[in-house]
Symmetry: none
């Protein structure tokens, strides 16, 4: 850290404004976990919620939940018409176990009179008295000026009076909020420039929303114009279109010279290398699939499909990547697609640890096979494990651990004896393993589920190797019209060590396609687990 | 349109750069449909692909696919070391049925010598000769300057020489591409300002990628700095983190005074009101769930969860919404009130020709049922026929034409007598129609196909009414992880008069979900065809 750089502070509101996201509903335990993630990342302020607003938030503020970051409670300034000591909401807020308090205050004159139903002067008094009370209580104080930019356009003097009042009363930060999210970067820049004449940038923050897809740009434009605190959320969650995405903002501040040369933040280079993992862990907690195309941290953020780019990329990645993927804990992916050439394939094989010379004729066989299968509907871009199996098979390295002799899946819908309509799915699978022949049957809540259960019910001597195999996700894509269409099934599996792998199957028959992907998943697991090759005896194979 | 506004042109590359998105794989029929969507929106240029690069793109350029937009073919400038007339790639491009040709050319000196392996001078010659050849062929020509911004930082003179050469040779547009996507808005603005000294902004375009989550901001910053063409994609699809999202850019250009007061685009206010529907239709085509939080068009883009905002919002929406949701075909969602849902439903019913009074208690029953089913995973946005059936059933108007007493579907995979692996799908369906009980069996190339064949094989006296029913499309979406997940099936049907209708089914069991959607399709057809009600006799029902 060079001392001539200016410090920019990061404020995370995932647990407060992020909790406004439709479909998101944090438990107390979620909040504890997420606060830990944010704290370890090196964020300066963790806003934990609104104590007094609901039992979860109140319980969350019963103790301090961060070790490095300042633990921050959110709440309203005192209500009009009551004194500071007679406002129960304010009392709860002041009593919260927090290092800092973030008040929200109206700064658009229309909202003061219309939504709050008070006078402009009383609103300023409310800001002043609330800030003073929190400062007296020993808290670091900040004031979120709600609707600041829309308010400034309507009545700049009043918006500025709110900012000036907050600062004069002792607030460490005056945060300019684009509450409706419709302000554009150049408006932000122009208005911030006018605010800094009243409150210096060192005391200003920005709180942007993504309603024009410019929350990141608005936040960075504000920093350029002088503000020194950025409020945002993990993965940009938040009401409507979300808040400014800290996961995109942090790498830009750390890695892009326009910012990195002038500013420093609390996130270390080591912490930055955990960013991809952190972003995915947060999605896991929200029980949603990570956005493959997320800037910096998405699985596809450094993926190349085009053959011509790929060959140059392998030669000199820097000229095709705007940052080094490793710096944010991500990695380069060269996709194998029908546009791909040998160099894509070689790069993938190297990643699997398969060494093969560029002029090896088996490489041409493999490439031809990949292209033939992709024309049939296979897609290996998102099915690493199936590609690795195909490659190892073509190079002659995958043993036949076991053989499926036949399977049958039945789905029956009928009225039972009590006249209720019911659907039953059942599968039987007959396997040869070593010199055993095993017949397993299982029910499921659908045909693929039943087939999966029957296949993995008894793999004989291999059973211990697949005991921790778990199916995480199952995707179906119909590749062309009609019920007689080609179906592609993509399966995500994981094991007890949290290894994850993806397999694919393609067929006119959805059950067949699912079976292929299931088989690849099981065989891949056996291969990686180093299962011994038993050899299927002639007798077992013939039975 | 006031004449003092400047025209900004929109260029859609969904079908070319968007096709680089991992997991996206357009068929010829997809391309035709998507080109139609973009054309109707009022985009100026539709880039359809790279004729000669693959059979789909070549076939797509066998005829012109747009009526209003200029149909544009993408390709490389002539290869080094061959003449224009001896370059087969260039010949294919020139022969394509296109109004315009977009050449990609290197403008970063390092890439010219390193990746292309040619001299700086020969690269300029390639640009000049290729542009001249396309102009001579009567095409409108543009040149995508690849890596323009990184190239400009490395060697501004050479990057500018590429731009100048393209324009001097007759290119209508010189497009500045941020190929690696790492350039920030202020860099874009500063560099564009320097380019306009060489090529005026009226001839410049911007092509931005979203690697720092600022593709929209970069595109708009470039327009502010003088460029007059924006390249982007529907819903921001594209390689890595995607291209600039036209669905976010268009409303900003149309509705935000900073742009709307100075510029005009080819998208009308009417077309803008179709934007939400277009964005969702495109996701449907990609078989993926629309992003609920997408700016302007997301289901949650105008949703408010907080009670305090919600009540003020109902009083005066303008102060809580940055634009009117209706202007982009979206709507306000206040999650505490059913009012919006009711009026929406009434509008849908009116569209079906169902008259019902707003205070009819059956309307509340129907609304509750729709909400219950949507919570279960049904989606009626894309399944009109199922919604109409549900409404008519709740209002007591759909007869029971026939009854499915039971069905069974079997999929078996085994070795046949000749030792070949084969999969057979078979279904039986038992129906009561009037006083007949009919048992039909059929094979298919998959379980749903077999079930469909058995169901429609013999509908007794109703058979003539469904003789022209045809399944056009079948889509499966897994709504949550694992093989035991909820499955939504969407079926598109049509008849001999080319009427098309969409039905939906949801279940843990994919066969059940498919059956529901198939049944809705058949019943809908019987209803619309005015089939008589035979009444199922007690004897037939009991058998």
């Amino acid at each position: 850290m060079s001392s001539d750089k200016q410090r920019v502070y990061l404020f995370d509101t995932t647990l407060r404004d992020g909790a406004q996201t439709s479909g998101v509903d944090f438990t107390l335990s979620d909040k504890v976990t997420i606060a830990g993630l944010i704290d370890r990342l090196g964020i300066d302020y963790v806003e934990g919620g609104y104590p007094g607003a609901n039992p979860t938030d109140t319980a969350f503020f019963a103790e301090k939940r961060t070790s490095r970051a300042k633990f921050t409670a959110f709440g309203m300034t005192k209500r009009p018409g009551v004194s500071v000591s007679n406002d129960p909401g304010l009392a709860t807020l002041l009593a919260a176990e927090a290092d800092a308090i973030c008040f929200v205050a109206k700064s658009w004159d229309y909202h003061v009179t219309f939504a709050l139903g008070t006078t402009l002067e009383e609103n300023l008094d409310g800001i002043r008295l609330s800030v003073e009370a929190a400062v007296a209580r020993g808290r670091e104080v900040m004031v979120d000026c709600e609707h600041f930019f829309d308010g400034f356009k309507a009545n700049p003097d009043y918006a500025l009076a709110c900012a000036r009042t907050a600062r004069a009363a002792g607030a460490r930060w005056v945060v300019l909020c684009d509450t409706n999210g419709g302000t554009l970067p150049h408006e932000i820049e122009a208005i911030v420039a006018r605010v800094t004449a009243v409150v210096p940038g060192d005391f200003l923050g920005i709180h942007a929303h993504n309603d024009t897809e410019q929350a990141v740009a608005n936040s960075l434009a504000a920093v350029r114009a002088g503000v020194r605190q950025i409020q945002g959320t993990l993965n940009g969650i938040g009401e409507r279109c979300g808040n400014a995405n800290l996961v995109s903002i942090i790498p830009t501040l750390k890695l892009k010279p326009e910012f990195a040369d002038r500013f420093e933040i609390g996130v270390s280079e080591d912490a930055l290398r955990d960013l991809t993992q952190l972003s995915h862990a947060f999605d896991e907690l929200l029980n949603r699939a990570p956005n493959r195309h997320a800037p910096y941290v998405g699985t596809s953020a450094f993926a190349t499909k085009a053959g011509i780019h790929a060959s140059a990329l392998v030669k000199d990645p820097k000229t095709y990547e705007h940052i080094a993927p490793e710096s944010v804990g991500n990695r380069r992916r060269v996709l194998v697609s029908d546009q791909a050439g040998k160099s894509n394939l070689l790069a993938e094989l190297a990643r699997f640890g398969i060494e093969v010379r560029k002029d090896d004729p088996r490489l041409d066989t493999l490439l031809a096979e990949v292209k033939r299968r992709e024309a049939e509907g296979f897609s290996y871009e998102a099915a690493d494990a199936s590609l690795e199996l195909l490659a190892r098979r073509t190079l002659g390295e995958v043993p036949e651990f076991f053989k499926v002799k036949r399977f049958r899946v039945t789905v029956e819908r009928r009225y039972n004896a009590r006249g209720e309509l019911m659907t039953v799915s059942e599968a039987t699978v007959k396997l040869a393993v070593g010199d055993d022949v095993l017949l397993s049957a299982a029910e499921g809540n659908g045909p693929v589920n039943a087939l999966d259960a029957a296949l993995r019910k008894d793999l004989g001597q291999y059973q211990p190797f697949i005991a921790d195999l778990e199916l995480v996700d199952f995707k179906v894509r119909i590749l062309n019209g009609g019920t007689g269409a080609t179906t592609r099934v993509l399966i995500e599996s994981k094991d007890g060590q949290d290894n994850r792998w993806f397999t694919v199957g393609v067929s006119e028959n959805i059950i067949d396609a699912s079976f292929q992907a299931l088989m690849d998943s099981v065989v891949y697991k056996l291969l990686k687990a180093g299962a011994p090759v038993l050899g299927i005896t002639t007798a077992a194979a013939a039975e």
